[in-house]
């Protein structure tokens, strides 16, 4: 079964501390993994995609097929990073259908 698991409901860190939001998946095949973010009072939006291998707002995520993980990392958290983060999985064969994790709320304290 296809599944995305985010084990932490809430992650609280201080400004300047490193952040790692965990994401594990189960999928038989070649999945594509994404991180979506929802800031307070804003719409859910795409943050980054594993294939692009780029850093967005200082965040990076590496797909580890051996551990079936796609953790989101940032070396120095900022207060404006406080938001709800969702890991999501898709396959090109599914025409845009995404499977989302449970979400992790990141709170960055001053």
């Amino acid at each position: 079964a296809q599944r995305v698991t985010q084990p932490e409901k809430l992650l609280s860190v201080f400004k300047g501390a490193p952040v790692e939001l965990k994401c594990n998946y189960s999928y038989s095949g070649s999945p594509e993994l994404f991180w979506y973010v929802q800031y307070s009072r804003q719409r859910l939006q795409l943050l980054l995609r594993h294939i692009s291998r780029e850093s967005i707002k200082g965040f990076t995520a590496d797909l580890n097929k051996g551990e079936t993980s796609f953790h989101l990392k940032k070396p120095f958290a900022q207060e404006e990073d406080s938001a709800m983060y969702y890991c999501a999985l898709s396959s090109i064969n599914q025409g845009g259908k995404l499977i989302f994790g449970q979400g992790t709320e990141l709170s960055v304290k001053p």
Partner: protein, 112 residues
């Protein structure tokens, strides 16, 4: 600018009422989706549509139906609202860039 709009931000309905949630996108996207968003459960797919008059069940279709008569509009219908359908409902659409879903602002539905 990409736009997905939903007919209401907040809605309060009584148990047993028929409820319509409307979603409109102006990007000429083929694919449209309805999710419900609940704390601790994330986003769960209710229904999706790849084209006009086409619909497919998602993971939690029970108690819901959908309608897509025009490409830009995708409606979610609660035939007989129940209290366990109290939730935030999100509409999304995607086009040729299949993985980037554009979300609406959401409708917070309360069923009393």
């Amino acid at each position: 600018d990409v736009k997905v709009t939903q007919s209401s931000r907040y809605l309060v309905k009584r148990t047993g009422e028929k409820v319509f949630l409307e979603c409109v996108q102006d990007m000429d996207h083929e694919n449209m989706f309805w999710y419900r968003q609940d704390p601790g459960l994330g986003l769960r797919l209710i229904y999706f549509s790849y084209d006009v008059k086409m619909k497919e069940k998602g993971d939690i279709p029970e108690g819901y139906s959908v309608s897509r008569e025009k490409k830009e509009r995708f409606s979610l219908i609660l035939e007989s609202a129940s209290t366990n359908q109290t939730s935030m409902y999100l509409c999304a659409s995607t086009g040729t860039v299949y993985y980037e879903q554009y979300f609406g602002p959401g409708t917070r539905l309360t069923v009393t």
